[in-house]
Amino acid sequence: MSDTRNLFNTVWDLHTVTELPNGQTQLFIGLHMIHEVTSPQAFEILRDRNLSVMYPDRTIATVDHIVPTTSQVRPFVDTLAEGMMSAIEKNCDEFGVTLLDIDDERQGIVHVVGPEQGLTQPGMTIVCGDSHTSTHGAFGSIAIGIGTSNVAQVLASQTMYLNRPKVRQVVVNGELKPGVFAKDVILHIIRKLGVQGGVGYAYEYAGEVFDRMTMEERMTVCNMSIEGGARCGYINPDQKTVDYLQGRPFAPKAEEFDKAAEWWLSLASTPDSEFDDVVEFAAADIEPTVTWGINPAQSIGISENIPSPEQFDETEQVGIAEALAFMDLTSGAGIKGQKIDVAFIGSCTNGRISDLRQAAEIAKGRRVAENVKAIVVPGSQLVRKQAMEEGLDKIFEEAGFEWREAGCSMCLAMNPDKLQGREICASSSNRNFKGRQGSPTGRTLLMSPAMVTAAAIHGCVTDVREMLDPASV
């Protein structure tokens, strides 16, 4: 009999330690990534209970959320941030965990670093005290975000309890139009399925669009699974996955790599695989997409108009009205032409080299509009270095963007990069929640890095397709 399990179920079964009578699984975790914000209290729990880290070599740490992106000289000016730095340094040292610290060239946003270093591999179970851990699913792994109590559990036991989710296959077939990026695809999916549509599910993204995507584009898609309520999302490993991993520092080497590749490819779901649910979208329906509200499902295509509460289900109308009032946007108007104050390119969603290349292509030879503050924050130091080797920093600076050091920066504004007052920001990050970018009343419009660049240049939301080189269209 052929195996009708999908990748998710195969990998889950492989990592199952025990099934509990209450229906939960004690799951072995193959890779545990930690960062400075959600780990200090977990190490405290270990200390209190006199426990050690069970598999220090399956654990890796970096610093990203609180690091400044102007000067990274220690001690940091922000004493609270400096305190968190000392805490993770002390904890990693004491518990034998490798730390990619601020002075390490491999430092960066945890979800950029994992793939970049080849730590993230197909068939693994991966956790991190961070909801965007779903990013790592791009390699065909089960990657989920966890809380601090879980971080302590995984440090001490390399396992945690989880309810096995159902698996929904999200299929997108056809061809994306020029100017439509991975970010638009995932924003479109979240818009259609809702911010809680994925609760209780893992998403398998399948179909021609994802097959064609580069690994970095796949990461953008999987990254935002959590914004659709799915704790994880994944894409089946293929030759691109294998090629991406070849030669990366933590990837297997030589003959072992060949064996690994064979195993990785064997995990992929097959046409016989069964799913709890399947939904399908057409690539042709996806436009450059922009959020107008305060959650990532509140978005529209660039040529559509901002909706009014009456267009929604009765139970949603209060929330929609609240979102429109907070954003100070008018129903019936287009989002195109909406003025912006700040443009942010970066984050674990869109802070990789291909994102910066796309943005630079639009920025090249143009100028950021007056009154717009535009910053580019690479996702890791290696991304930054690569971009500088390609001269992208010069393109950005000549266009009037600030070129920064690596970190999370204005994605959640735990460092000095913050919106002020009612500023409105075109952002390549993943969350447009109230207050997310550092000002309690600040506003966020999510879009692709190319669209952020276009908005920065024109000072307002712009259809990037009008700026593409006709030869490339």
Binding site: G30, S131, G145, M160, Y161, R231, K259, R431
Partner: protein, 197 residues
């Protein structure tokens, strides 16, 4: 660990949908190495913008049960969110639905997070608004939320209910009991064993 079966007291209504964890505890308060002191910052930015926010109203200050809407606790995985609520005084949350990571974090902290129908939540919320001192209890053994003399059915994932009511929500201790099984599983995972087949 103590057995958690019923939380009794009074309730605070915050009947809104999609309350994310950035709203529950703004990111700037995550610049800390302990959870101490988070309670006073719960919903800080919302409170500043809305002077009538329930968390600032005198009559709700002693409440134990939070009533909310759909998809409560979505967004970031920060355990600082349930920690902030707990340190403010919340011991149980009743909502239409929860984001998964938030739900798991609540259970880890011994906070029952139960779901009720939207209509029931609307009614509960109105009752509590009208009479903030009305007695409220959340019982996860009988799966009932009581508001005054009215009783509503509620639900909670069986795994969480089981752990809380039996006092077995020290998950760390339980996980560590399986050391041998953990090692055995590790022994069968290809990438931990040089991909030897």
């Amino acid at each position: 660990m103590n057995e958690i079966k019923q939380i009794s007291g009074t309730a605070i209504p915050l009947f809104l949908d999609d309350i994310d964890t950035d709203r529950i505890i703004p990111a700037r308060y995550l610049r800390c190495v302990t959870f101490d002191g988070l309670g006073e910052h719960a919903f800080e930015d919302d409170r500043k913008q809305d002077p009538s926010h329930p968390f600032d109203q005198e009559q709700f200050q002693e409440s134990q049960v939070l009533i909310s809407g759909r998809n409560f606790g979505c967004g970031s995985s920060r355990e600082h969110a349930p920690q902030a609520l707990m340190r403010w005084g919340i011991q149980a949350v009743v909502a239409e639905s929860f984001a998964e990571i938030f739900f798991g974090n609540c259970t880890s902290l011994g906070i029952p997070a139960v779901t009720c129908s939207r209509d029931d939540l609307k009614e509960m919320s109105a009752t509590v608004q009208a009479d903030p001192k009305v007695a409220v209890s959340v019982n996860i053994e009988t799966l009932a939320v009581t508001v005054g003399d009215k009783q509503y059915a509620c639900q909670i994932a069986e795994s969480a209910r089981n752990s809380l009511t039996s006092g077995r929500w020290d998950f760390l201790g339980l996980l560590l009991e399986k050391q041998d099984d953990i090692k055995q599983t590790a022994g069968e995972i290809p990438y931990l064993n040089s991909f030897a087949s």
